[in-house]
């Protein structure tokens, strides 16, 4: 009886401790980040190595890197997921090999992606430190996540759809386009947002691929500094950059929360619509 009460107490204490640390972290960043946050902070260029001014070009670079990553990763991951779930038997050797190598890819540390991106995109392909290099590196990184979620979404589509359309003599491609992909859309969007969240939070893979330059990028071949790299640089290399770093961290967290809630509401909407029309 005493043991029971004691463990209950300990487990409640753990939960309170974890929540407490989380609130501490969040409150710390909100309290210190909010004063500097304003419209002009979001659009102005950084001055004095980021101590003053804003983060306009950094937000643009971040979005461009994200755009490159997603434009590359989405078709590739969708194709792979469709192949794995609709065009190969679950126990085929090819399918198993692809799944296995993607599992391994998912475990590769981000700094190793940074080394790889630097060696391949910056040097071997001659793209240099550029938004393109950074985006392509991130694309490799989020690929396993996107494929896994898309595959799960497709597999969750009711099997009746496949059987009924086969009975109607529809081709597999038509079934895919008209039935399975629409049915899997909520899962696809949710997976996409997870990928975006992972990409936007990434730092280590970007330092040696997209670089440090905090000017407004002219093209995808320019170096651009991502928001997370900006926070790192301000806190480690710029004395007196803490205030700007706090505000940038707040912007990053707000961006992530926004992406998260958009994903949730989109998924809900689609789910609702497909139920209504069904």
């Amino acid at each position: 009886m005493v043991k029971n009460a004691l463990t209950t107490l300990l487990i409640w204490l753990t939960a309170i401790l974890v929540s407490g640390v989380f609130v501490w972290l969040l409150a710390d960043i909100i309290i210190h980040g909010l004063p500097k946050l304003s419209w002009s902070f979001l659009v102005e260029t950084p001055k004095n190595a980021g101590r003053s001014g804003g983060i306009g070009p950094i937000i643009v670079s971040t979005l461009l890197i994200l755009g490159v990553a997603m434009v590359t990763a989405i078709p590739l991951s969708l194709a792979t997921a469709v192949l794995l779930s609709e065009f190969t038997r679950h126990d085929s050797v090819f399918g198993r090999l692809v799944r296995r190598s993607l599992d391994v890819l998912a475990g590769v540390p981000s700094i190793v992606f940074g080394l790889f991106g630097n060696a391949v995109f910056c040097i071997y392909l001659g793209l240099g430190f550029s938004i393109l290099s950074g985006g392509l590196t991130l694309a490799c990184m989020v690929l396993p996540l996107l494929i896994r979620t898309a595959e799960e979404g497709l597999q969750a589509a009711p099997n009746e759809y496949r059987l009924a359309s086969a009975a109607l003599g529809m081709s597999r491609s038509a079934t895919l386009v008209h039935l399975l992909l629409p049915a899997a859309t909520p899962a696809l969007v949710a997976g996409l947002m997870l990928g975006v969240g992972r990409a936007i939070a990434e730092t280590a893979a970007l330092i040696f691929t997209s670089g440090y330059v905090d000017r407004m990028p002219d093209s995808l071949f320019d170096s651009g500094r991502a928001l997370s790299v900006h926070i790192y640089d301000l806190s480690m290399n710029v004395a007196g950059g803490d205030a700007s770093a706090y505000s940038s961290a707040l912007v990053l967290i707000l961006l992530l929360l926004m992406i998260n809630s958009i994903a949730l509401s989109l998924a809900n909407q689609w789910l609702h619509r497909s139920v209504v029309t069904a």
């Binding site: 463990t7 209950t8 401790l17 599992d103 391994v104 081709s171 895919l176 730092t203 706090y246 961290a249």
Partner: protein, 284 residues
């Protein structure tokens, strides 16, 4: 399987894409080996342990201070995060009322989504000065362990939660029918049944801790030395790569790729073991 002509064309296209996606991991290994070849070719692997110091430009390649920093910080974080994570999972599954349990799970998910650079920044600005009061300079192995603990706690908690959710309801009902107390149910039935899933989650978390770069880089002080105490500044393998890649050339650069290769091998061993364990669960 009957396929029309369009289907066959589509299947071929998809196969091409899947092949590309599957070869990325091979490409990574290939390029890591290619870039580290200048060092691997001429330098015996034992030199990474027995050389006098880490001065790759002068041909001294001792990596042990970085290796031990990585191992200590990972070990410390796993030791702290495992009980906390399992307790978190137990809390939301067996102890908290449904509403609080839902909120708590959401909070852990949010915690998992916070960027590592934000953890690092918070550790540097808030945690390090607190520890610095205990023993300057504050940026130390201990700070790194605490930040890492916070970062891998969600991984442990979420995987343990999933493993506990997969415990067959019949076990739980049977335990309740035998009149076991709540703790008796958890320690005697639920935890043993979920054991392999929890261990797999812990291994995944350890892999994440080994590979983590930014948060650790920002709070451990980055002095290349064998740590004598928890309050010493250290430099991990990942931090070493991040700090020196910017200016490394020639053999120095190749040596950094060797440490990247070492990292990848360590993480792969952990991830594969975790996968093996979680596969076994389906048969057990």
């Amino acid at each position: 399987m009957f396929l029309s002509r369009t289907d066959r064309q589509l299947a071929a296209l998809l196969q091409g894409c899947a092949l590309l996606a599957a070869t990325i991991v091979l490409l990574i290994l290939l390029f890591l080996i290619k870039e580290s070849w200048p060092v691997l070719q001429h330098v015996a692997l034992t030199r990474f342990v027995i050389d006098a110091s880490w001065h790759p430009v002068q041909g001294l390649y001792q990596l042990t201070p970085m290796l031990s920093a990585t191992l200590y910080s990972t070990l410390g974080a796993v030791v702290l995060a495992t009980p906390l994570g399992i307790a978190s999972a137990l809390f939301s599954r067996y102890f908290a009322p449904p509403f609080i349990a839902g909120c708590y799970r959401r909070l852990i998910e949010l915690l998992a989504g916070i960027p590592s650079v934000v953890y690092g920044f918070w550790g540097l600005i808030t945690l390090a000065p607190l520890i610095g009061r205990l023993h300057p300079p504050g940026v130390s192995l201990l700070t790194g362990i605490l930040v890492l603990t916070l970062m891998i706690l969600p991984t442990v908690a979420l995987t343990a939660d999933a493993a506990l959710a997969a415990v067959p309801l019949a076990y739980v009902r049977g335990a309740a029918a035998l009149g076991l107390s709540r703790w008796g149910l958890i320690s005697g039935v639920a935890l043993p049944a979920a054991r392999s899933g929890i261990i797999a989650g812990t291994l995944l978390a350890a892999g994440r801790a080994i590979g983590e770069t930014m948060a650790v880089l920002m709070v451990v002080g980055n002095v290349v030395q064998q740590p004598q105490s928890l309050l010493d500044s250290v430099r991990t393998l990942t931090a070493n790569i991040a700090l020196e890649m910017a200016y490394a050339t020639g053999v120095h650069r190749a040596a950094l790729f060797v440490s990247g290769l070492a990292l990848m091998v360590m993480v792969l061993v952990l991830v594969s073991t975790a996968e093996l364990l979680s596969r076994k669960r389906h048969y057990g």
